[in-house]
Symmetry: D2
Subunit: 328 residues, 4 copies
Amino acid sequence: MAKEIRTIGVMTSGGDSPGMNAAIRAVARACAYYNVKCIGFYRGFQGMIEGDHCVLNARSVRNIISSGGTILKSARSEEFRTPAGRKKAARHLKELDVDAMVLIGGDGTFRGGQIFSEEHDISVIGVPGTIDNDIAGTNYTIGYDTALNTVIDAIDKIRDTASSHDRLFFIEVMGRDSGFIALNTGVGAGAEEILIPEEDMGLDRLLESLKRSKRSGKSSSIVVVSEGDKIGKNVFELADYVTENLPDYDVRVTVLGHVQRGGSPTCFDRTLASRLCVKAVELLLDGEKNVMVGLLNNEIRMTSFEEGLKEDYGINKELLRISDILST
Amino acid sequence: MAKEIRTIGVMTSGGDSPGMNAAIRAVARACAYYNVKCIGFYRGFQGMIEGDHCVLNARSVRNIISSGGTILKSARSEEFRTPAGRKKAARHLKELDVDAMVLIGGDGTFRGGQIFSEEHDISVIGVPGTIDNDIAGTNYTIGYDTALNTVIDAIDKIRDTASSHDRLFFIEVMGRDSGFIALNTGVGAGAEEILIPEEDMGLDRLLESLKRSKRSGKSSSIVVVSEGDKIGKNVFELADYVTENLPDYDVRVTVLGHVQRGGSPTCFDRTLASRLCVKAVELLLDGEKNVMVGLLNNEIRMTSFEEGLKEDYGINKELLRISDILST
Amino acid sequence: MAKEIRTIGVMTSGGDSPGMNAAIRAVARACAYYNVKCIGFYRGFQGMIEGDHCVLNARSVRNIISSGGTILKSARSEEFRTPAGRKKAARHLKELDVDAMVLIGGDGTFRGGQIFSEEHDISVIGVPGTIDNDIAGTNYTIGYDTALNTVIDAIDKIRDTASSHDRLFFIEVMGRDSGFIALNTGVGAGAEEILIPEEDMGLDRLLESLKRSKRSGKSSSIVVVSEGDKIGKNVFELADYVTENLPDYDVRVTVLGHVQRGGSPTCFDRTLASRLCVKAVELLLDGEKNVMVGLLNNEIRMTSFEEGLKEDYGINKELLRISDILST
Amino acid sequence: MAKEIRTIGVMTSGGDSPGMNAAIRAVARACAYYNVKCIGFYRGFQGMIEGDHCVLNARSVRNIISSGGTILKSARSEEFRTPAGRKKAARHLKELDVDAMVLIGGDGTFRGGQIFSEEHDISVIGVPGTIDNDIAGTNYTIGYDTALNTVIDAIDKIRDTASSHDRLFFIEVMGRDSGFIALNTGVGAGAEEILIPEEDMGLDRLLESLKRSKRSGKSSSIVVVSEGDKIGKNVFELADYVTENLPDYDVRVTVLGHVQRGGSPTCFDRTLASRLCVKAVELLLDGEKNVMVGLLNNEIRMTSFEEGLKEDYGINKELLRISDILST
């Protein structure tokens, strides 16, 4: 029989993302609703190791649903990769009578949680919070939708000046291993080309495409580039290469950077965070563990960590085809 | 054998929604890509009746992906409800060699298109464009996500002043027959109560809930009300009723109104519009007709008009429960 | 000789406005910088009467510069209009060793402060915080610039749908006694007509102008109306009147309401609040009192309350002429 | 006697800025109002040289008041620096019967206009349009206020993630020769330090300040750096230097870049553009020339090019002091 859950811990880990506060609020409020104590740990696994924590009640999360960042702060912890580190964390949790943890973060967070849960008798449920959307167990991670709109807003602004000056802009967006942000914002902003890590477009095809675009009468162009695109050059080298080979183009580069991590979350990210975290608490109370919750095919579902962390998180390459058609 | 499609018409009808321009752009660009002529009709069915049209090529839709409203304008047409009106429209389409139509709009638009298609030999495909999200054949209609964020942004602002003055605000949002906007923005904005047409909360429960909220120490509150909520009073009567019965509360009303229809579409609405409309054109070229395209369970799918227009478009009442838990 | 100032109080009063938090922060930080104690009173004069206060140090105002509303809350106080109420307030201030007060608010706040300062030995300096901009002693009040942009953003959205449906919108904005918001947003949003309390346009001229606009080929129109416009009808009566007399027009009304009071302040309002409040603290330390600080002709200046509260706060009617020219 | 003005030309030149479209609209509408023909030249002086132009009437500028960029495009022209280039431009203007020009741009634009006006009998009036605000003849240039808010919005987002991860961010903003943007956004965003070209802070003082900030308990910090700051290192070198010397800090860099040039203009920039350009047209009709119009001490005034282009455009170093006080 599952042990009774009287205290639930919560933390945020990995790169922060908009909606993490909405998620923390939902955990704290759901705990209050079900008369369970809620303890927040600071800076992810590191706070668990150090016992750095606070008690979260319904009031302590008032008015944070609309704010970016995470009141629990986030970090990556080297120490938690060691059995000794995890043992320290387990000891602190025991001392605080924490029976279960809600871990808000990305794949690294879930992997850490999985090992931790196997080594120590703590129920763990993961909630996907990362702007990268690279988690198989959900169609949308918390923060991803906000990041898309932040990028769209920035590209729209750059489009204004690109058009005024007949320029070609290379815009680097986040996504070291996955092209979700580049692909969706590229289509959403009407970019002429999109470069993602999952697909090697090749430099020749890029040049060819830009030449064609010029011939068709377009005077300005936007190319959206994922940090980790496969073409083997960083965005500045790419810009130099194009400048050398297509001297007609007046080329500029913008690296959007960390603005993509901040900002007030969109309605989608707030409701997603709210739904996933209420579910996470309810699942823990029902005796579940070692799973993540996600939005799959428009429903809140749980998935085992193994399944949820599969490499193939299903990027929609169909969008590359859509982009080709629409940038005609 | 399906006749060959050489010219495709497109129009927007019913209440306008953000992303309609992205949709028009996608139809025009997909037509250009497949070497099909594209003709835009102004003011929905009315423009078809009057033959009020323009030729759309890849250039004519440049830079409209980010703008709200619809360059083809929108209207409701009484005349199209008559066989004579539809006959006129069919004649104009014949004269212009229009073989098929993409209709961007809501349920009324689809019903008009269905009858029209049955009476006259014109292939018709519907694309759901409305902020109301009340179409069974898709989980998301174009414009809905933008409207949610417009509302969230407004409620966040009102929350600022509600907190400063310890006030209770009733905020009316759009949704005459469906509570999608109220429900999702209510959860997203952390509203204390949500009133929707699909569920009669009852005045007593509302008063009870507000009293409880006051007792719990909340000094300000937000109640999100759908235009067509079931409680049988409009938002001003509701406010008066609460003022009389809970004199402790300093009550204010805001009717958000038409701001909800405008604004630059979100990334989600832009990519949704792009994907649905490319698909609509491709389906027409493949000989399909009398269907709508939608995003169902994270995939672009077609649904017959009959199926797509079912009354039960599946509002997620689970969100009411989530709201109850989170407004603890 | 001026007495030494060791403790400065601060409060926000009247209708709240974006930037009040930036102002509170600047008072608290300037006090910390000059080694003066800072005490915040809640809900304006009412908190002074009740002794409802908190100590503000550099940390307590961290990260509030970007948030709307006021952490000290705001209210109107009937009791402070009585000598007895003011006496209570003075007693609380004495008990707390408050030597001087920074009052952030509008004309009512300043008048209250002036009387209070005359009756009791408390140095008072006023900082103009109101979205209405109706203070003679400054060209810009804190919150006004943010309100302008909130309104502009809303009208831009309404313009989208007005254009799509060929409609005429009457948009009511705040300003019961002054037309600053209507006038500047009317010009900024390219409104066809602007109705303000300072100028009686007359119904005939309005109809004439709208007819002319229709004849010139404009299919949609925006009329911005100040709450307190002189035409003697409220915005709904106005809309009815126009509908009756110009049946060609499809008329709609939007009352923007309290969204205008909220939101993250603009850069202008934040720097204005910062500059004015540092100056207010420095003036108090220099022995000044009974003055307001303002931005006059691009410089921070102090003005006596008498002068600063003159009726003629100089609305720029020239903008009505500009609007006539530009809505050609 | 001044010759009669029957045709006025308008162009935008130099780096584009938000509000240039509002300015073009105001010139075109004012011309329409005064029954003067209006001709727009593309890409600044270059379009004048090439005779690349369009006729602008009241309709052609409809709905552009809210859009960023410039419909007339902008460029820098090497050819116009030569007498031969300017002669070509004058010839085209003569052919088109252009009697006078409104030049919208920065100091380079005004200098070009001044020489051109002296060499050829064309009346020229300058309107300050640049995000840099580095023009002595006006307190505000068109586009500057919008750029400030774009930067503030970006820094607020970065602040979210900086706080979550306890990081120090160096944020580079535009302003090669002037620190207006850095100074005002630094104060507006509550930056810990601000580095501008007008003031050499020195590396030692920067390190000292950051150390002090750390000691005071701040875990995250923002330093706003002007492109052309005096410290002699670019923003990446600065970050490296600080990382080496203050290993406690986790340092990141964001270069905001061209997003600062785009976006829908603020209310302030729209009304400023409207007022300045109506005035410019009216002054030309009154026989004025060789002047710029600006907003000085809250009034629209004209200034001779000589005066308006003085080196000392009066940056407000007082803000550095304010920043020191407020970042306590």
